[in-house]
């Protein structure tokens, strides 16, 4: 165990014990226990003492043990908390947003299995020609489009296999090599914001909004976030072109693609198209996106296009991670911990824009060093409570702060540890951390500014 992990273990246990040893006036017993769980989870997530998905599982376990009707504490004679059945906590694993992600995972993994992602990329890249600058734009556009529906990490890994031969043919002194190597992870991070299934922080925020009775349709999320993704893609492209101007006008691109035509592959293409179409048209037909998400799971498994082995290889730990984040929010809200925590600050004196600035900036900074999902999980319960304290206005305020947190968390890309796509790009050895630090900082700051501008000029007009 490294020093950092040991420190985390010590601090996490200390954090867990503090609320057990001290009495915080105004906070119920259940609130104290919820705080124990919150502090332990926050420390373990930050120090990665144990894998982040294990921390999520530990959260759910602790909640069942300490905060449920079936747990070890009898709340019948204690005021201030009406314990939840344990199914509320373990049920987060079947939360509609988890099912939505499951459908997305099956589509994505089946696409990888039949090389649909790779071949589609080559087809989509062909109109972008041979000019270095437009090819970079093409790479970014395709990466972002795919990562809106697949995991950012898998998309980046796939795109790296596309760009390595391009980079290998370029002059080693050409700055555009660095630009190309950065364009892929940056576009993947940006593309993730475009749809609810693009990246896990979106899921945590949407689930938290659902708990408040606010449903966010697939198409609505795209309406809020897609324009920002497009603008940010162009911004990132321009930033990279200016920082790493291509020395050669043209690059050669080998785009041999051959879509597989086996019956299973064809079925996948149809299912993929139909699912995405039904998702984005939720507003017209009214079938919930998480119900639509069952379609690829059913069709691809009953036809054996997606086998038992493939099911086993799904990234289940990501679903655990999201579920833990959702569960943490539930206990913080129902025990009154969240409102107690934010109650100590005079938020009323801040304008609602200032509240958004604070949460956006904190999310951006935190997720540069922490997992994006963890950042959203820690911030969203606090942010949503501000509505009850009056600092934000009702349903509209909740949606705004939710969007600000989710989107800001995805714009954190200054270091290899900020996101897995950045880590992959750094591993290629083409670029140095200082390159990522500079362009990632510029993109993060512009991104946060644009999010805040949207919260003033765009979202109020369409929500």
């Amino acid at each position: 165990m490294t020093k950092i992990k040991t420190t985390g273990l010590f601090l996490g246990i200390t954090g867990f014990c503090i609320p057990l040893l001290f009495n915080f006036p105004g906070l119920s017993l259940a609130g104290h226990l919820a705080m124990s769980i919150f502090l332990m989870a926050a420390v373990f997530w930050m120090f990665e003492t144990i894998p982040i998905y294990s921390t999520s599982i530990l959260v759910i376990f602790s909640q069942v043990l300490l905060l449920s009707t079936e747990g070890i504490i009898d709340y019948s004679g204690i005021a201030g908390y009406d314990p939840l059945p344990y199914t509320r906590f373990i049920g987060t694993l079947a939360n509609p947003i988890i099912i939505l992600f499951l459908g997305g995972f099956v589509l994505a993994d089946a696409s990888v299995k039949y090389d649909f992602d790779k071949n589609l990329t080559r087809i989509l890249l062909s109109p972008f020609g041979n000019r270095t600058s437009t090819i970079i734009l093409g790479l970014m556009a395709v990466t972002a489009a795919l990562s809106a529906f697949m995991s950012n990490t898998a998309t980046t890994a796939m795109m790296i296999t596309v760009i390595i031969p391009i980079i290998a043919k370029m002059d080693p002194a050409d700055p555009a090599r660095i630009g190309i190597a950065l364009s892929v992870p940056f576009a993947a991070n940006i593309g993730g914001i475009a749809t609810p299934i693009g990246t896990p922080p979106n899921a945590v925020v949407i689930a938290a909004l659902n708990q408040q009775g606010l449903t966010v349709a697939f198409g609505s999320w795209m309406l809020y976030a897609l324009p920002l993704a497009i603008v940010m893609l162009i911004v990132a492209w321009q930033v990279l072109l200016r920082l790493h101007p291509p020395a050669t006008e043209m690059v050669s691109l080998d785009l041999d693609s051959k879509l597989q035509t086996s019956p299973h592959a064809l079925l996948l293409y149809i299912t993929f198209g139909a699912t995405v179409l039904l998702w984005v048209t939720e507003g017209i037909h009214g079938i919930k996106s998480s119900i639509v998400a069952l379609l690829p799971v059913v069709v691809l498994t009953l036809s054996s296009a997606f086998s038992k082995q493939d099911i086993r290889k799904l990234p289940w730990e990501v679903l655990w991670l999201i579920a833990g984040g959702i569960a943490l929010g539930i206990s913080m809200e129902t025990t009154g911990l969240a409102s107690w925590l934010v109650g100590g600050i005079a938020w009323g004196s801040l304008s609602s824009l200032m509240v958004l600035v604070v949460f956006g900036a904190v999310a951006l900074i935190m997720s540069n060093f922490l997992s994006n999902t963890v950042t959203a999980s820690l911030l969203i319960p606090l942010a949503l409570t501000l509505v009850t304290s009056g600092a934000l206005e009702g349903v509209f305020g909740m949606l705004m702060v939710g969007l600000v947190i989710a989107l800001s968390a995805s714009f954190a890309m200054i270091l290899p540890i900020s996101t897995p796509p950045n880590a992959i790009a750094e591993s290629t050895g083409v670029l140095k951390t200082k390159h990522m630090l500079l362009s990632g900082s510029i993109i993060g700051i512009i991104g946060l500014t644009l999010i805040l501008l949207m919260s003033v000029f765009y979202w109020p007009n369409i929500i």
Binding site: I52, V112, D117, S151, N152, T153, A154, A157, M158, I160, T161, I164, P165, G192, T199, P200, K313, P315, E317, V318, L321, S371, N372, T373, V374, T419, P420, A423, I424, S427, T428, G429
Partner: protein, 166 residues
């Protein structure tokens, strides 16, 4: 200190040994290269490195050595669990058919490089087998991407999901 994956070169002629190691210098930052001029010396070094928690990813071995010959060394390594997965390559001018067959059947010989060798052939062979090794034997092959076959390692991440969104 983090444990390392070593590349071994066993060759009794000092000039040849130097030439091989020079050709492989692009790997040295990530995979330290160890040299030995006899099978006996090689085994001592390997034992010491393994005891310190390191691994041997690849051995490039001459057939004709003073004392025990190269094929015997490779067969012995194949029968030792600690070096069973080490990728084994013969680099030689004069291995007979019998010896080569034994190396393939009993030492799981992966490749045969005839002397004189081309630098590009040696480098590509090393890259291929070290990539095989890290994909099969390490938890995070991404760490070695910069000197190995990046396309294969990225594709592995894509398919096996060693890394997922967080």
């Amino acid at each position: 200190m983090k444990n390392k994956i070593y590349i071994f070169v066993v060759e009794d002629e000092p000039e040849v040994l130097d030439a091989i190691v020079r050709d492989l210098e692009e790997f040295e930052n990530i995979f330290p290269i160890e040299m030995a001029d006899s099978a006996e010396e090689c085994r001592e070094l390997i034992d010491a490195l393994i005891n310190a928690g390191n691994e041997i990813g690849l051995i490039l071995c001459d057939q004709v050595l003073p004392g025990q010959n190269g094929v015997d060394l490779l067969v012995e390594m194949q029968n030792d669990p600690a070096t069973e997965h080490t990728r084994k390559v013969l680099i030689t001018g004069q291995a007979g058919l019998d010896e080569t067959v034994r190396a393939i059947n009993e030492a799981d010989l992966k490749h045969y490089i005839a002397k004189p060798w081309e630098k590009s052939d040696l480098v590509e062979t090393t890259r291929k087998f070290m990539t095989d090794y890290v994909l099969e034997r390490t938890e995070n092959p991404m760490e070695y991407m910069s000197v190995l076959d990046g396309q294969r390692i990225a594709d592995y991440i894509r398919k096996e999901k060693g890394l997922t969104d967080n």
